[in-house]
Amino acid sequence: MTSKERILNKCAKAADGAFAMPELDDIAAVEYPDPLKQFCATSEAVGGKVVELADNQDINELVRSLFPEARRIASNLTEISIADTNPDLVENACELNGTDLGIIRGEFGVAENGCIWIPQTMKQRAVCFISENLVILLPRQNIVNNMHEAYKRISFNDYGYGTFISGPSKTADIAQVLVMGAQAARSVTVILI
Amino acid sequence: MKVGLFIPCYVDALFPEVGMASLKLLRHLGVEVVYPQGQTCCGQPMANGGFEKQATHLARKFEDKFGNFDYVVAPSVSCTAFVRHNYPSLIKDCKVADKALDIVEFLHDVLKVKGPLGRFPHRVSIHNSCHGVRELGLSSPSEQNIPKFNKIRDLLQLVEGIDVVEPERPDECCGFGGLFAMEEKAVSQRMGCDKISRHAATGAEYVTGPDSSCLMQLSASAERLGLDIKCKHVVEILASGL
């Protein structure tokens, strides 16, 4: 007998089927009068920054003004013209090390916790983590209240990876002092488009 | 309504005044209360220490003494909780489990006492004993997001001249825990000292609670730290001046 068979047999014997799956649609989950406002407040609370793109404002100019020092910028978004590295064209993900700014797209935001759904849409997803600073472009009408709504909405493509990001990488592992910028992006700026 | 008064062993031996106050208070409220002689211990100390079997005889004895009352009332939350929650698994056809009430519950929920009680012109800090909070529901546990309530506070507020406060960390354990206090002496003493310090920080002259074992731990801690704060069971305060 393989370990798989042994484990499954033991579980089958022990699992008595006694408990039905509870109803989950009746959860009285939090909703906000203005989800976008709540999303912005939560994002700031988790260490992120939210900026609105004004009508007729050029996204590249806005990013440039936010990160005047950034030299190496990585993005595969067609509207981003200031990028000098395209994560779709990078053969070895390690080459993205040293990226000052990564610019990616988020599908929707979650008001209750500042999460943004980022399905992998580039060959090297490392750009989402290895960049010193991360800019996420997020359509401002795409905000849901809570994670129940969020998980009804997520979808995967062929890359088979997706993540919720809520603010910059952080740690409090040294003496419980909160420090932004542990192993991944040291800052996250959400640009509402 | 026939009410049997259960006075747990350590209250009987060490805090007879708590028993007397219970009797006085219940009689004052017009309750027909009987103290059946020959009662000893509910068995909780042995069971919590890991010797539940030794509690079985005591549970049977308890059932004999109290089975025919409408309510069994005790001035001790942990003993009441043990009778209510553990007896049904110890003895067959247990009748007393559902009738056992801590005196705070009895006054608050059954008698629904609203009228004036005694007089106690002092600042009093409530000690929310763990088993009162988390096993009998005398107050809303600080861990839970449910509407806030506190039956002890409700009753104390019927006492004339009293100033009721609660400490920071209002329902953290005092560290008594029965045999825990012996096996884990260092942690137990530290918990007791931390707890009484928080009570003292409220400026209270008295700590009051529904369980004399917690209060015993707290007064020992007060002496250890040289704090001028006294402990009194909640029934003593409710009955004071009656």
């Binding site: 579980c11 699992a15 490392a126 809520s166 592992d173 | 546990p141």
Partner: protein, 446 residues
């Protein structure tokens, strides 16, 4: 009358300043958690749902395991099954050696701690680098975690600063500022990520309906570990499988709120496939005792645990004794229970570390009866032969006295009450009443 825990706790408490800091630090995490719970009117409803989803999944675990592994395989993932720690370690080593891996970067996993994987791989020439900052610190220090969520919490910034100086990670001697130290660790770990041949993660959840492995981190280290190397291995305990995304929503909302008092971890990552065409993703499902615990109705519900650590943070005994006062590598209420399941004989010395205050059960996001389980383990101690003799004598004496009215009357008569009440319980100045209540009331009734 002392136990492993009580002896270790006693020495922990000798340093009053440090032990106070420890207590306050974890209490503040509990308070952050409370603030999160209070912001959600549905918190108690979520706890109930979470508990019931887990009970349901466990009571159908064989079906969900098959669904999970079937879906993962459809996604091209290689699924392995490990009956115990030894088989798990062999599988990991087999995968790594067949790919010629010299260096493995990994995110935090209590499962790999449980299986003692790191020393196993290191003995076979594979360098293992922990990439969660706390785990990295204790790895460099040669220690075990003292808390499952904050593994290096027992060290202060000076300890870490000196460690980093010794290991050549920091370049400014005497600079022990946490921000600086975190930055230097970032630079050091960046080098490790870039030179690793494989990445490993644990798993917070496995989703049966999709075959996804879900990993929650604040640092992004699980994502760094798996987006640079092409080989990914994820280790998951059988009990971490949940049915679907609707269930995941419930747990995602609770895990971090309960654990650290944040509304979410920074990263909630869903791994479904190998990250590139020439990459590989392996999932190892680990039993290592879990199927036995599942078969034990008295303790099955321990498998509901999502490892948030909130029972430790709220436990008044954990806060005043620290993670190293427990003999099992997971401390606190959940650790007492897991240790007993792992080896009752070896870990019964932790059972004393509980006042039965039940704060743990009331905090627990999946409503595990942690104190109830400890109570029930205590009942089985005498059968194990590990019970405490003087405690048993005490209990026997109480039992004798309480069962015999004559003895009881004599014992409660006067100062002979000392015979039944332990000396340590006596407040210094407690005066023995002249008469017990049962005699006073007789006189009163006359």
């Amino acid at each position: 009358m002392s136990t492993f825990h009580s002896k270790s706790a006693k020495s922990f408490l000798k340093d009053e300043k440090y032990s106070s800091w420890h207590d306050k630090t974890f209490w503040s995490v509990r308070q952050k958690r409370d603030a999160m719970a209070e912001k959600l009117d549905e918190w108690e409803q979520l706890r109930e749902k979470a508990s019931r989803i887990k009970l349901h999944t466990l009571s159908h675990l064989d079906k969900y395991l098959e669904e999970f592994s079937g879906n993962a395989e459809k996604n091209g993932v290689k699924v392995h099954w490990a009956a115990d720690a030894a088989e798990f370690n062999e599988i990991v080593f087999g995968i790594l050696s067949s790919h010629g891996v010299k260096k493995l970067v990994k995110s935090k996993s209590m499962l790999t701690e449980e299986c003692e994987m790191n020393p196993y791989l290191e003995a076979r020439g594979i360098e293992v680098v922990e990439t969660d900052l706390g785990e990295r610190i204790i790895q460099l220090k040669g220690q075990k975690p003292s808390h499952i969520v904050m593994p290096a919490i027992h060290l202060n910034h000076d300890d870490v600063g000196e460690l980093f100086e010794r290991k050549g990670i920091s370049d400014q001697p005497g600079n022990h500022d946490p921000s600086y130290l975190t930055y230097m660790a970032r630079l050091s770990l960046r080098g490790e990520f870039l030179s690793a041949d494989a990445g490993m993660t644990g798993a917070n959840f496995g989703i049966a309906a999709t075959g996804d492995i879900v990993v929650c981190t604040n640092e992004g280290n699980a994502d760094m570990s798996t987006s640079l190397p092409k080989l990914q291995i994820s280790a998951i305990g059988l009990e971490k499988i949940i049915p679907d995304y609707a269930s995941l929503a419930v747990f995602q909302r609770m895990l971090c709120r309960a654990g650290t008092g944040q509304p979410s971890t920074t990263y909630t990552s869903h791994f479904r496939k190998a990250r590139c065409e020439d990459g590989e993703m392996h999932i190892i499902l680990v039993d290592n005792g879990r199927s036995d615990w599942l078969a034990d109705p008295a303790h099955r519900e321990i498998l509901k645990c999502i490892r948030c650590g909130s029972c430790m943070n709220t436990c008044p005994v954990y806060r005043r004794s620290g993670g190293y006062s427990y003999s099992y590598f997971i401390p606190g209420p959940i650790g007492i229970n897991l240790g007993m399941l792992r080896s009752a004989r070896q870990h019964s010395g932790n059972l004393s570390a509980c006042t039965l205050c039940r704060s743990c059960e009331t905090v627990c996001p999946v409503k595990i009866g942690l104190a109830e389980q400890i109570y029930s383990w205590r009942q089985s101690l005498s059968g194990l032969g590990t019970f405490n003799r003087s405690k048993k004598l005490m209990s026997d004496a109480m039992s004798l006295v309480f069962n015999h009215q004559g003895l009881y009357d004599a014992a409660t008569g006067a100062e002979s009450v000392m015979n039944i009440v332990p000396r340590d319980w006596m407040p210094f100045g407690l005066r023995f009443p002249r008469k017990p209540f049962h005699k006073l009331v007789k006189e009163d009734d006359k």
